[in-house]
Symmetry: C2
């Protein structure tokens, strides 16, 4: 009955857990790291909704409530999952600033890596937003991703804005892709199958003459993408426009 929403983690607890050297195994071998790893495994396989405290505990062979000895609650566990997932984004040798193609090549690399991240961990798109948990890996990520933009003629504020723009775009298109993948899993039908089944139903119910542009464009796009949308194309097309726009901003100096 306390005023605490399950969706909002205690920031201080999260921060301590995130940055602290949490490694005292306890007597059953239970560790924060093990809990987080188990949760990520479940989320990778079955989505964030499938991550229940019961199921995490079961996977670790411990009682459900034992988890609470190491982790304050599910919200903080989610924070830990996110920062851990950020952990393997960039190696030292493989930094965005080490990519060819200048700032543009760097941003393309950032976009590709983040796309891969969301592909591997689609559950990250389901994490409830709010104040982002500034863990060590998130900080490392921010640093690495800003570097290609440093010294190219953008102000500090603009550097932040450009990176945010790119990341928002990648997240948006990844969300599209994850949604399509989930729809495919849940319905058991591929995108094309679904449309061939449901198109007649839609035709019967909607009068295409009321939507002349929409039906023309929608059909063209559907044919091109073999479905309602194509996340890979959306990512590439949008990123090209965005980086062109950023180039124009830089050139305008």
């Amino acid at each position: 009955m306390s005023g605490k929403r399950a969706s909002e983690a205690d920031p201080a607890r999260s921060l301590a857990l995130l940055w602290g050297s949490h490694s005292r195994p306890g007597r059953s071998g239970l560790t924060v790291r093990a809990i987080v790893e188990a949760a990520i495994g479940i989320a990778d396989a079955d989505g964030l909704d499938a991550v229940s405290m019961r199921r995490v505990a079961e996977r670790l062979g411990v009682g459900t409530m034992s988890l609470y000895t190491h982790v304050p609650g599910k919200a903080e566990l989610t924070d830990l999952m996110v920062d851990t997932a950020y952990g393997r984004l960039y190696d030292d040798v493989d930094a965005p600033s080490a990519q060819p193609g200048g700032w543009r090549g760097g941003m393309e690399f950032v976009a590709a890596r983040n796309r891969d991240l969301y592909r591997r961990h689609p559950w990250m798109l389901q994490v409830p937003g709010g104040r982002p948990a500034l863990g060590p890996n998130a900080s490392l990520k921010y640093e690495a991703e800003l570097r290609p933009l440093d010294g190219v003629g953008l102000s500090d504020v603009e550097m932040d804005s450009v990176l945010a723009l790119v990341l928002t775009h990648v997240e948006g298109t990844a969300r599209l892709g994850a949604g399509m993948a989930r729809a495919q899993r849940d319905s058991g039908m591929s995108e094309t199958e679904w449309w061939t089944v449901n198109a007649p139903l839609l035709d019967k119910v909607m009068d295409a003459s009321r939507f002349p542009v929409a039906s023309r464009v929608g059909e063209a796009a559907g044919r091109e993408h073999q479905g309602a949308a194509d996340p890979a194309h959306a990512l590439a097309f949008g990123l090209a426009r965005i980086l062109d726009g950023v180039a124009a901003l830089i050139a305008g100096r």
Copy 2:
């Protein structure tokens, strides 16, 4: 125990409900429209998570299970909520294609209207993705938003791509804003308050010298935006870049 995920609606049932003239009041006056309106009212006030079948029924003064006579389940109800919310986006007189400033003005109008939509109905950002439910209002929206791009030198596929890019950007920045608003509500602290409280804690735990660019840029951005991020600025900045990029694409013809 059936194989149906609660997150995936039956498309045929949704389509029939969406397009059908569902208006047989039943003997308690219960209507699909009334159910949807009640659900939207709850979602507007307390978020999508607060929309439970029990609470919707309570608001309407009927038994919980009576809802299932009119609506197959919660997933389909969500589809109906979304299409209904789309309903009041554009009046006939107020269409994007009637805006000044050509295609660019039209897209800026589309962006502003969608931003307002997400501001009024933040729960739309929590709707689980998947195959979008093609209701009448979604179709109208697609038609209205494509029109400013018609005949400006883009191919049909490019028209779809540009619109998707703009809408993805608006959704992404709206998500940022909704997250910040929710964090503020849950924590009871404004953005500046939160950072003044938690900055010392972060300083203690992270070594700023390991993140030279990040700490410099982050501090500049934080000062500029009076917080970790500024959704309004992110929307405007990103939209300007995107439309510059689209202009370059058109000019390249």
